[in-house]
């Protein structure tokens, strides 16, 4: 008797994905039923609950993984391992923080409804799928789910033409990247006979690929697809425009959730599936990293718009995260996890400040607008200073340990030269972070209005600062956790 055989499903593994997707659908229905005045608040509450529930599930998942080891389910298409759990936590936390910022933003901009939250939850579902995917097709699915929500979110601010322009740009280039990715997946399938990461690895370790051209081409296309998504140079050109055009809370989502999903999926593809080809993809990544670090830091120097500046800054940071990927070791995996886990709240909080400063209409993003902010509002200015210092990698902030771990991983794998390039780019980057921080403390009596900090955004900024300082003073437990995660990584 043939027919469709339903593979066995371990629901704990896909529970976060189900929760997120369910919450998104639930909100869709609820927002149609209740009064629009309360929808945004309700949507934020539901998103927060979803995030908290997911983190609770992640804790259960962790204890399961710690006891039973890593496993696959749904016909080996989805993995439950420590690596996925860390990614899930990072994404869930990012979604909650972003939704808080979006709530205050929506009130200010008089955007009623739950659309932002529905789309953010849907996008995050894609990101969750990406971090636990064990199959190129599933990664592609995750990538598409992640992207489609974001295309809409970027164009969300209908009052501004730049928003629509950014959306179109993101859509076209994103679609292009997806096409390249899926073509790469097809070529890899052609070369190895499978799209499953485990099977690809098994095939490559047991067979000698006589004509590796197909495999190399496929791998390169996959890499390019990811490079588009994480905005690695030279595939970064869309990112400043989109960061600038998108509503600022959405920019925060892009800089956190998208990065977590894409980096972790990239890491899994390169290490799980193509681990045997380390010597082939490393040189390519080497060039990408060197370019990403240097271009990101140098071009940021001339930016006057803080959103563009942060776009280039996040390109520079992407170079650092890729450094952890490049090392291809357990240490590198742990470093990448630690980096994305701590970078996400910091960058969301930074964009929360930028959202506040943008003012009604989300237009005031010139760096001049920040003159004397810390003199007028010491707490807000001080918080932004800490967030910037953390991204700079100043000691006693978590950014230092994030950079420290990836650099250590790279050096341990023999990448001293690459690490040097990266850290010198950080020295260049220090210039624009500091210049911005200096503007905050400029002694100026411009008659700028004080910015009101709404409570929810205040919480997000507070969380970012606490993460930056707390784990900067006491990184031990988090580092240890991230070191354990790759031990529970599916080989």
């Amino acid at each position: 008797m043939s027919g469709l055989v339903i593979p066995s499903i371990h629901y704990l593994a896909i529970l976060p994905i189900l929760i997120f997707f369910g919450a998104s659908l639930l909100l869709l229905v609820v927002s149609a039923l209740v009064d629009t005045k309360v929808t945004t608040l309700l949507a934020t509450a539901i998103t927060a609950l979803t995030g908290v529930a997911t983190i609770v599930v992640a804790i259960l998942q962790w204890s399961y993984v710690a006891n039973h080891g890593a496993s696959t389910t749904v016909a080996h298409a989805v993995v439950l391992d420590g690596f996925a759990v860390v990614g899930t936590v990072a994404i869930a936390a990012s979604v909650v923080l972003s939704s808080f910022v979006a709530y205050d933003w929506a009130r200010r901009e008089r955007v009623a409804g739950a659309d932002f939250h529905i789309l953010a939850l849907a996008s995050a579902t894609g990101a969750l799928l990406m971090v636990s995917a064990n199959d190129l097709i599933v990664i592609f699915l995750g990538l598409e789910i992640l992207s489609i929500g974001l295309y809409v979110l970027v164009g969300f601010d209908r009052h501004r033409t730049t928003s629509a322009e950014a959306s179109l740009k993101y859509f076209l280039l994103g679609g292009f990247a997806s096409a390249i990715f899926i073509y790469g997946a097809a070529l890899v399938y052609g070369a190895t006979g499978s799209t499953n990461l485990g099977s690809i690895a098994y095939f490559l370790s047991n067979n000698l690929v006589l004509h590796p051209g197909l495999l190399y081409a496929g791998g390169a296309l996959l890499l390019i697809g990811f490079a588009f998504k994480v905005a690695a140079v030279p595939f970064h050109l869309w990112s400043p425009d989109v960061y600038e055009g998108a509503p600022t809370p959405v920019t925060g989502v892009m800089a956190s959730i998208v990065k977590v999903g894409a980096f972790l999926a990239l890491l899994r593809v390169l290490i799980s599936a193509l681990g045997t080809q380390l010597d082939t993809w490393r040189p390519i990544l080497f060039v990408l990293i060197a370019l990403t670090c240097v271009v990101g830091a140098v071009v940021a120097l001339v930016q006057r718009n803080v959103k563009r500046l942060l776009a280039y800054s996040s390109i520079n940071q992407a170079g650092f995260i890729l450094l952890g990927v490049w090392s291809g070791s357990a240490r590198g995996v742990a470093a990448t996890l630690f980096f994305v886990l701590t970078y996400a709240p910091v960058v969301i909080a930074t964009f929360a400040v930028v959202t506040l400063m943008g003012g009604r209409g989300d237009e005031l993003h010139s760096i001049d607008h920040y003159r004397g902010l810390a003199r007028r509002q010491p707490w807000l200015g001080g918080a932004l200073t800490v967030l910037l210092l953390s991204q700079l990698g100043a000691r006693l902030t978590v950014g230092f340990y994030a950079k420290c771990t990836v650099l250590a991983a790279a050096i341990d794998s023999g990448g001293g030269a690459l690490a040097l390039v990266a850290i010198l780019s950080a020295a260049v980057a220090a210039y624009f972070y500091l210049r911005w921080a200096m503007w905050l403390y400029a002694d100026d009596d411009v008659e700028a209005t004080r910015v009101v900090v709404p409570p929810m955004t205040g919480v997000v900024i507070g969380v970012g600062v606490v993460v930056a300082i707390l784990f900067g003073l006491w990184p031990g437990p988090l580092v240890t956790w991230c070191q354990h995660a790759p031990l529970l990584f599916l080989p």
Binding site: R395, T405, L407, I411, G416, L420, L434, P475
Partner: protein
Amino acid sequence: MHSSIYLTVLIVVPLFGALVAALKGRTPGLSYAVGVGTASVELVLSLVVALLYNPHVKGAGTWDFMSRHVLSAPLGLAYDVALDGISLLMVVLTALVLFLALLGARDRRHEPAFVAWLLLLTGFTMASFLSHDVLEFFIFFELTLVPSYFLISGWGGAQRSRAALKFFIYTFTGSAFLFIGILYLGFMNQHQTEGALSFSYSVLDHTAMSHGTAVWLFLAFAIAFAVKSPIFPFHTWSPVTYAEAPTAGSIELSALLAKLGTYGLLRFAVGLFPLALPTLRPLLLTLAVISILYGSLVACATPDLKRLVAYSSLAQMGFITLGIVTGSKIAMVGAVLLMFNHGVITAGFFLIVGFLEKRRGSYQIKDMTGLQGPAPVFAAIFTVVMMASIGLPGLSGFVSEYLILIGTFGTHAWWGAAATLGVVAAAAYLLWAYQRVFHGEAKGPNAEITDATPKERWVLVPVVVLIVALGVFPHPVLDRITPSVTQLIHHVAPAGVNK
């Protein structure tokens, strides 16, 4: 061995003081009182540690007050403090300089923040000198950047923003090399021992390495320290930064932070990579001598009194580097002593220059003439400080420079001869500056300036006392330095360091 609690208190007191000063900012004057109180406690404590220090603890070399707590094993992060004769001197200097900077260069604009940054800077510097773990040292070494950056950019002269940024970027770039070097060394050691990742100084100095590796690592370390010191050709940030910084900032930078550079060179570059020294010695000696001569020449030409002191600092840092790299024990003792003496002397210089600027509103030498008449006390103290800097026998500068030059002549006579020219040049530019500023007839605003107030005199008293005391009777200090330097030389010696 004494308990490490003393050292922990030395680090914590200024940090705590900074917190209190920042929080108690609303009451006028209170933050300043907190600052002075903290500085006094710190000074007394550092003297107590200096008296207690025992250079002959069994099994610990010349280290005392040692203790190590691992904070994060995967990162190799640890809190590890210890004190030996070399760091002891730096600890006393740190406490003393804070005291002088607070009392002598009070700045009433945004005073709570000013005091807090100054205390933070002291805490971080103190922690760097006390670190017995290379990674820990690096973290605190880098942390000193943040308060100094804010001190310069907040309270400096007209070009302060540019100066602060230049200072930050230069030092940050320099330490990039140091950071990579430290991580590389740590992993190399871990692969050899196959144990846990550790950056402890006493673990890392047993790392086996090839000659080539040692040279590269030495260079990586030396670049960071040369930028911080500064040593030619990495000095270009220093004159503008010293000149633009507020007086307290200039004092901290040149008396203290510069010593972090030479201290790092001595302790970490020379101490950890002795193999590289024979190869790199000609280069380092050359750079040191160039620093001496170049600093002296530019000091002759500069029209700005504060910049003159900055360039004379460059020359003095050249002397210290010379003493460190020659490999002679006498010269190395002299270098350590000069680190301390130069700290005191340059603090005295910057204080007097700051006092004069407050009266004349300018650092330009041409704006000051004949100040000897209206301000004889300033003239007298400037003379003492200047003579110490030139190296007049009987004053502190003489002892250290003499030791360095004797040691250098014993091993590298030609370099010693070239460096001696620097002593002559120092006499030239300082005496010439003195002549232009203090001699002649005071006219106009110059005639109307007031002499040192009682408070200013009291601030300068410890400077003069130390200059004279260490010139006449340096033995208590030398006795504390020598065992540690001897030990370092013994560690370095098998790698072909002569004498």
